[in-house]
């Protein structure tokens, strides 16, 4: 991929500006969060051009933003945040992506590394057998005809009502796992067909299930509120999304909006940026369908959570209360939301696109669970499969600068083909074994493509968000068991 030779101005050590005059049609400047070393890496590919392209979208306010895990996407960059006015701005399905509400949840446990390590192989086998994963995996849940519509409206609540999980899981899920305004009549038959077969599956690619241990606590009190009590405590992470249902919703509406752009006289350099006014019939239909896909993804992670609890109880020979498997939080990192933010000194309703970016609301914000009101919203940042993951909290600075957003992961630096050229799946498996990580993977080729070397160092990414003040690290975990689809 060619080097990007555009204009980038240094604002301070962690902020870089693409000026509005860089490209004709930019409505706002772009800002990339990165340090000197990272910014050089970022310019090796075309992702800054994608930041500039986001700034072309009608109704965008303040800045077109990129988090430090930015890398080249299709249309929008991964790590991109863009907020549009709801009265005369647009919504762009490509700015959410094909995996609508791809997200992460983390569960705490009462268990320690010493208790779990002797049984880790058995535990990983049990998890691997109880959570369907891999390409084209089909769910264990048999939905009756039409029942998927309920999943699309109720999200996590549907799962809990069916016995997958506990009511208090909903309290610690973004949007309570049930986004309002979901309209199943805007979801195509094809999307529902795909969704009916795949509920309760992990999928493949970078999706994973991870048993991890707390290896550092940065903010003891804040961590304590989340139930992160000590180093060596076992945690469980789930990373997956809306499966084929979400992909189909994105397909359907990108197609529709490519057509609608003619009607609304919107011209953009990349069809993948296709959009329609938020208030238009197309925009409203997409948002209604997108919320359905988001709810489906929450229902999906909720069902998986239930099987995870069962596996832990069975393998550790303890009841659910004793294992202490409680949901700390669940975040989405591919979504559009209607939120209120300050623009030019005034509160405004905006359609905030987060594509590979996480909401990071501060202390006291009304949209975060009461339990976390005094510490800020938990933010979950999974690293690549061999390295650390982070729990952070949102900040006031994020609210001021990034529409309450921060990064979502490590961010790729190497293409899948390049990663595979350098490494065999077997080597990656061996390397992880050497580091004491038990791996269960559907296929080895997929494993090589997700090797640590293909990603930026998540610690560096998190450190930049800390120094820029847009989120604050609370604890760090390190994997002892990984399931890859």
């Amino acid at each position: 991929m060619p080097q990007w030779n555009g204009l980038l101005e240094k604002i301070d050590d962690y902020r870089w500006r693409i000026p509005k005059n860089y490209k004709a049609g930019m409505r706002v400047p772009g800002i990339i969060y990165a340090d000197e070393a990272l910014v050089q890496q970022i310019q090796r590919e075309q992702s800054p051009e994608q930041v500039a392209n986001m700034a072309l979208l009608p109704g965008i306010v303040n800045y077109s933003l990129a988090m430090p895990d930015i890398h080249c996407g299709y249309g929008f960059p991964i790590g991109g945040v863009a907020a549009m006015k709801t009265d005369d701005g647009v919504v762009s399905p490509g700015g959410i992506g094909f995996d609508i509400n791809c997200g992460v949840r983390i569960l705490r446990t009462n268990l320690t590394r010493e208790e779990v390590l002797p049984k880790i192989k058995e535990l990983m086998d049990s998890l691997y057998n109880s959570v369907p994963s891999g390409v084209g995996s089909k769910g264990r849940i048999k939905l009756k005809p039409g029942e998927v519509n309920q999943v699309l409206v109720k999200g996590s609540r549907w799962s809990v009502e069916k016995g997958y999980g506990r009511p208090d899981d909903l309290d610690t899920t973004e949007e309570n796992g049930e986004m309002a305004g979901a309209d199943p009549s805007q979801v195509s038959g094809r999307a529902k067909e795909r969704g009916t077969l795949q509920l309760g599956t992990l999928g493949s690619g970078n999706h994973f299930l991870e048993v991890a241990i707390v290896d550092k606590i940065y903010e003891t009190d804040t961590a304590g509120v989340m139930g992160i009590d000590r180093v060596g405590q076992v945690m469980l992470l789930i990373h997956c999304g809306s499966r084929g249902l979400g992909h189909q919703v994105a397909d359907d509406y990108i197609k529709e909006m490519v057509r609608a752009m003619v009607k609304y006289d919107i011209q953009l350099p990349d069809r993948q940026l296709a959009c329609s006014p938020v208030k238009s019939p197309e925009g409203q239909a997409y948002l209604g369908a997108m919320r359905c896909a988001a709810n489906y993804a929450w229902a999906n992670r909720q069902c998986i959570t239930h099987w995870v609890r069962q596996s832990f109880c069975q393998v550790m020979d303890q009841d659910e209360k004793a294992t202490g498997l409680e949901l700390i939080y669940d975040v989405t990192h591919n979504i559009a939301k209607i939120e209120e933010h300050e623009v030019g000194g005034q509160r405004q309703k905006l359609c905030v696109h987060r594509k590979g970016a996480t909401r990071a609301f501060p202390v006291g914000h009304p949209d975060i669970p009461p339990k976390y009101s005094r510490i800020g919203q938990p933010v979950l940042i999974p690293g690549d499969m061999g390295r650390f993951s982070y729990v952070l909290v949102g900040t006031e600075q994020a609210m001021k600068e990034t529409f309450g957003s921060t990064c979502h992961g490590a961010g790729r630096v190497q293409s899948r083909a390049a990663a595979k050229k350098q490494l065999q799946g077997r080597d990656v498996l061996e390397a992880m074994k050497t580091r004491g990580i038990t791996v269960r993977a559907g296929n080895l080729a997929g494993l090589a493509e997700e090797a640590s070397q293909a990603y930026k160092d998540v610690s560096m990414v998190v450190e930049i968000t800390r120094r820029a003040g847009i989120s604050k690290p609370v604890a760090r975990t390190s994997p002892i068991g990984v399931i890859k689809g």
């Binding site: 890398h71 899948r416 296929n443």
Partner: protein, 136 residues
Amino acid sequence: MKRYRLIEHTADMGLVAYGRNLTEAFANAAYGLFSIIAELRTVKETESRRLEINEDDPEALLFEWLNHLLYLFDVDMIIFKKFDIIDFDGHSLKATCYGEKYDPSRHKLKRGVKAATYHLLKADREENQVRVIFDV
């Protein structure tokens, strides 16, 4: 003649597919797509599906063609390997696609593909080639 070549993209994968005409390039793009997903050597041609697609232009047709095949793979788990496209005019096509239902004992799936994207999508009638980036 080479049917397709893979192109590198940081997070995703793409391909350029060739042909003596655009019809053949479309068929080869589909072949390339399923080569990304599965090892096609052991896949037989025991199942078939007929498709009829109408779109506004060749790019929209390509987007829908590949995404329709991904939909069929998701719901029917058919790994396709042969694509007979007829009545191709750049805006519409009819095709019969052959493959086999996924059988874990004989087939190897390599990776999932979420969708064909519009990013850098191209259906070039002069060069008889198409380009597509997939979200994987």
